[in-house]
Amino acid sequence: MSFRRVVIALEDTSSSTAAALATAIGLARTMEAELVGLFIEDSDLIEFAALPFAGEIGFPSAARRALDVEAMERSLRAQARRIRRELGERLAGQPVKWTFEVVRGRTVAALASAVAERDLVVISVRRSALRARAEIARAFETLCVPLLMVGESHQRNSMMAVIAPPHAAVSDIADDAVALARYYGRSVLFVAADAERPHWAAWLQDIAERLAASDISSRFRVLADTTRGAVDRMLAEERPRLVVALAHLPQLRNALLDALPYPLLVLPQDAARAQDGG
């Protein structure tokens, strides 16, 4: 896998956004990709500001103020400027080509309009926004765009886990792993999920052979049970820095989406071509 751009949605300056940005910068630098900072002016907010009783409660001041469209747009522009300035300062001196874009729309649609082929989208997610996370993940599956969801920073082992069904294309899986592992610690755990299917041992063997020539170390594991509980136990045991999942195992994907706060990279179905057509 070779990403042309790493697109990060910058909503605010919270710690979760900062963690996502650190990840996006690291990936862009490792993969020599362009970093695109994307600020979305939420059209719902503009619509809301046009309502006659529109008002805002400041946080954490609890100060109230009436809003209109002009005030909301001014506020969004100010936020965009602030984020752009801080992004520039954060990237100063780093060998990363970057741009900053402002788009307007609903979050998913706006993101979708901004991404292109061979883009990786990075978003930050809050623990409470599980449903939104799932919605976004589904939306990007539809768009066939890889989506990396990052929560707040946590201490984990210096390795990544790739969870895939044994019918996924070995070449894509191995190439993806090598590309990402250069940033995530040069150590990969390959997990053969849905291992009731035949040939999983041969599948893992193929991957091992493909990685033999690289500088990446690898381990292998089988995850027969892809329910939420089994996934949680496996992650608690391995504590990977990144979980890579293929989108065409809905049960596994949903279990992983629930298993926050692990950063999750969901690869769309067309990027995970079935080896056996299954």
Binding site: A22, D44, A50, F53, I57, G58, F59, P60, R127
Partner: protein
């Protein structure tokens, strides 16, 4: 030993030490044969100080007595050996005293601007400082390790997540409740808002406006209610945050306590004999619990700020300075109590100073920048100070007295003491003071301080008065010789031949200004020995000879006599008028002395007098022109008293006289020329010429007694040098007071000239004796009728004064005369 003066007329008076002095009266030789060694290499060298018994007794007493206020003031001339003697006694006393405590300043965790002073057993300070450094090093490893453990991270995340979840949950719950009313919770750039939803989207204004009024009203009311509930949630947030912070703090303390407890307990047990240190370590422990973050270094990628900016934290190394030990006084290498000499006793050098560091243009300080002063270093021992240096340094004297009075050293910046700065600085805890001070200064200074500083007498109760000279005897000469030997040995000089030592002793007498005394000025003696040694080396002598000593003396004089030689040249060329032959009425040669570079030079000066009818006033032209000092003026005024009592006891002194030092353009001080002035005056009165071959020195009192003066040797030699250059005639000489004869230590060339009859030194006791030498005629004494013998000098003077009185009477108006007669009649 002496020659009687020639008698004139009926008046013949002979007295001991009066008249022309024989050569053997002009100096006192030191018998080299009595020194009992060939060179100083064979003599003992155990003598360091001589002739200072009074000072030795005093300093022994002062050092030994331990009561408060018994500090010492060693007074005397420069170079007399005050510091050497004091040092010797103090070193002896210090050797028998225990080594005092080490002192250190520590951070005061309760009052940071008041660093804590703690005493440790001598030599333990270094170990304590090292132990604290190690402790901090260990903490810098142990604390980060504890904070990097999974346990801590997990518990911290739990607390942070709890706060986050609490906020999110509250808002989420609110959002869910709103959703039941088709109202959505939106995040705006600055907070939250509630909007009516139509499906999954915010209701557009058109749709909203199309709603029935009741529905619009319902929505607005529902939004208002929800906003009120948001207020309630937001009100809780600070409280939740405080709770989370408290939990985090407690977590940090727990983790830190676990990491440091064993380290600090171990150190406490090592210092359990020192309660102050144990107490301090307890405070360190508490402080570390609250400041564990100081031991943590920011890690790469640590998301401490917006978009991953690491918030700049104070430099950890600087922050950890609070746990350092400022070892102010370290006695680990000491074997006895300290004896400190502070050569530059400024305020700060005495009581210590507080340095500052420049940081981004601002000056900052802390307890590690407190520096010890001389009082700290000498605490528990002795401190030697130069009084003059001390008194000329701003506030140094006050600071010393304050320390002695309060018996503690309080380090305070000078600018703060002067009130020049008002910014908050440090106020270190004072350190208890137990020190004995030895001030070294001039005698004048001691008496001035005693007279003008009421505290001085209470704080410096022991006066150590050093002699400038000592009695000269055969025994003291031997002592002196041993002193010379000791100094030569101690300073690595060549051995001195005994004749050289004898010459040194003779010079010591000359320096003392008396043939019967020996100077005990050690610095001058050492200078002579060093210079003699140099010349001996320059001449390839293995031992210093008397010639080397003499050459050193001559060379030193030569280095300094440019001015006297120039003045003499002016006399030789006739630009300065000083006759050394012939005679003249109302004109004599006086002898002045000038001090140049520590050496005295005698310089002859012409003194003239003119008289006329007047009202009894003596006009001293030097005083009138403000060139005469007060003592000089006093000497001239005494002359009037002598004239009136000696020649006009029953008549008005109808005289007006002027006296002047010719061709002098600087201030004249002293009364040593008052006899010369009187001779000039009497010559003018008698109209009798006096010899200009003879110069005069000596003061006079109202009875006509000639009194001793200073620098008599230099004065004689100054005149001799002038005469010698013009050619000695045999008539030339000097009249000196007979009281000065015992002080004569003249140069060999002068003595040789006297022995050859080419120069004379006369000693006189009275003015009459001097007059007879100068005028070569009898002065005359009063007979039984109260009249001077006819033809004598005094008779001629009296006749002149009678003449003035008669003429004055003739000039007087009848009105002026009547009251005089009336007054006389009444008497």
């Amino acid at each position: 030993m002496w020659e009687a003066i020639v008698a004139y007329g009926e008046s013949i008076r002979v007295a001991p030490l009066v008249g022309r002095l024989s050569p053997d009266r002009l100096t006192r030789r030191c018998a080299a044969s009595a020194l009992m060694f060939d060179t100083t290499g064979q003599a003992g060298d155990d003598v360091e100080i001589i002739g200072q018994q009074r000072a030795t007794d005093a300093i022994g007493f002062g050092v030994a007595i331990a009561e408060e206020g018994y500090n010492l003031f060693a007074m005397g001339s420069e170079g007399i050996g005050r510091r050497t003697l004091a040092r010797r006694f103090l070193d002896q006393a210090a050797a028998s005293r225990r080594v005092p405590s080490d002192w250190c300043y520590l951070f005061n965790f309760h009052v940071p601007h008041r660093p804590r002073a703690i005493a440790l057993a001598a030599g333990r300070g270094v170990a304590f400082k090292r132990d604290m450094m190690r402790l901090v090093d260990d903490l810098r490893i142990g604390i980060p390790a504890a904070f990097e453990a999974d346990e801590y991270r997990t518990r911290r995340q739990e607390i942070e997540s709890e706060l986050s979840e609490r906020q999110e949950h509250a808002m989420h719950t609110l959002g869910e409740r709103a959703k039941q009313q088709n109202i959505g919770l939106l995040r705006t750039p600055a907070g939250f808002a509630f909007a009516p939803f139509a499906g999954d989207e915010v209701m557009s204004p058109d749709k909203f406006n199309a709603l029935p009024d009741d529905e619009k009203k319902r929505i607005e009311q529902a939004v208002a209610v929800l906003q009120g509930e948001v207020d309630l949630v937001i009100e809780q947030v600070p409280k939740w945050r405080r709770e989370a912070q408290h939990k985090l703090r407690e977590l940090d303390r727990q983790v830190t306590r676990g990491a440091i407890a064993s380290l600090i307990d171990e150190m406490k047990s090592a210092y359990q004999a020192m309660p102050a240190i144990v107490h301090y370590l307890g405070e360190v422990q508490e402080d570390v619990l609250d400041h564990a973050h100081l031991f943590l270094q920011p890690k790469e990628g640590e998301p401490a700020g917006a978009l991953g900016f690491v918030v700049a934290r104070p430099d950890a190394a600087d922050a950890l300075r609070r746990y350092e030990v400022n070892l102010l006084i370290d006695h680990c290498a000491s074997t006895s109590a300290p004896v400190v000499y502070e050569d530059h006793p400024t305020h700060d050098n005495l009581i210590g100073r507080i340095d500052h560091l420049s940081h981004l243009g601002a000056l900052t300080t802390d307890f590690t920048l407190i520096k010890a002063g001389a009082l700290h270093r000498a605490n528990g021992g002795y401190l030697i100070l130069d009084a003059l240096k001390l008194l000329t340094q701003p506030l140094a004297w006050d600071a010393l007295k304050r320390a002695l009075r309060s018996r503690e050293v309080q380090t305070e910046p000078l600018a703060q003491a002067l009130g020049l700065i008002s910014t908050q600085s440090l106020e270190p805890e004072p350190i208890p003071l137990d020190v004995k001070i030895v001030l070294i200064g001039q005698r004048d200074l001691y008496y001035l301080l005693h007279a003008w500083d009421p505290e001085f007498g209470k704080l410096f109760k022991v006066a150590v008065d050093f002699e400038d000279d000592m009695e000269r005897s055969a025994e003291s000469e031997l002592h002196y010789a041993r002193l010379v030997a000791a100094m030569a040995h101690k300073n690595g000089l060549r051995p001195f031949e005994r004749t050289a030592v004898a010459r040194v002793i003779e010079q010591a007498s000359r320096t003392a200004g008396s043939a019967e005394r020996l100077s005990v000025e050690m610095s001058q003696l050492l200078q002579l020995l060093v210079e003699s040694n140099y010349w001996a080396g320059a001449r390839n002598h293995l031992a210093v000879t008397s010639d080397d000593v003499q050459h050193a003396l001559d060379a030193r004089l030569h280095r300094l006599d440019r001015v006297p030689v120039h003045v003499r040249d002016e006399m030789l060329h006739g630009r300065l008028l000083v006759a050394t032959e012939g005679d003249r009425v109302g004109q004599v040669n006086g002898l002045s002395v000038a001090e140049l570079g520590g050496e005295l030079f005698g310089i002859p000066v012409r003194i003239t007098a003119r008289v006329r009818l007047g009202s009894g006033s003596l006009v001293d032209i030097e005083r009138e022109s403000q060139l005469g000092g007060r003592i000089h003026s006093k000497g001239v005024l005494i002359l009037a008293g002598y004239l009136a009592a000696h020649y006009a006891p029953k008549k008005p002194l109808s005289l007006s006289a002027t006296l002047v030092f010719e061709q002098t353009y600087g201030t004249i001080e002293g009364d040593s020329a008052s006899s010369a002035e009187l001779y000039a005056l009497l010559s003018a009165l008698a109209d009798v010429p006096l010899s200009n071959s003879i110069a005069i020195t000596g003061s006079v009192n109202q009875h006509g007694d000639v009194q001793a003066v200073g620098a008599v040797n230099e004065k004689i030699e100054g005149y001799f040098d002038l005469c010698k250059q013009r050619g000695l005639t045999g008539d030339q000489g000097v009249i000196v007071p007979s009281a000065n004869v015992s002080q004569l230590m003249l140069r060999d060339d002068v003595i040789e000239a006297v022995a050859a009859g080419r120069f004379s030194v006369y000693a006189v006791q009275t003015i009459d004796q001097g007059l007879e030498i100068l005028a070569a005629m009898a002065s005359g004494t009063r007979n039984e009728l109260g009249r001077f013998a006819a033809g004598t000098l005094n008779a001629r003077i009296e006749e002149r004064l009678d003449e003035f009185a008669e003429r004055a009477r003739a000039f007087a108006t009848p009105r002026e005369r009547r009251p005089q007669r009336h007054d006389a009649g009444r008497k």
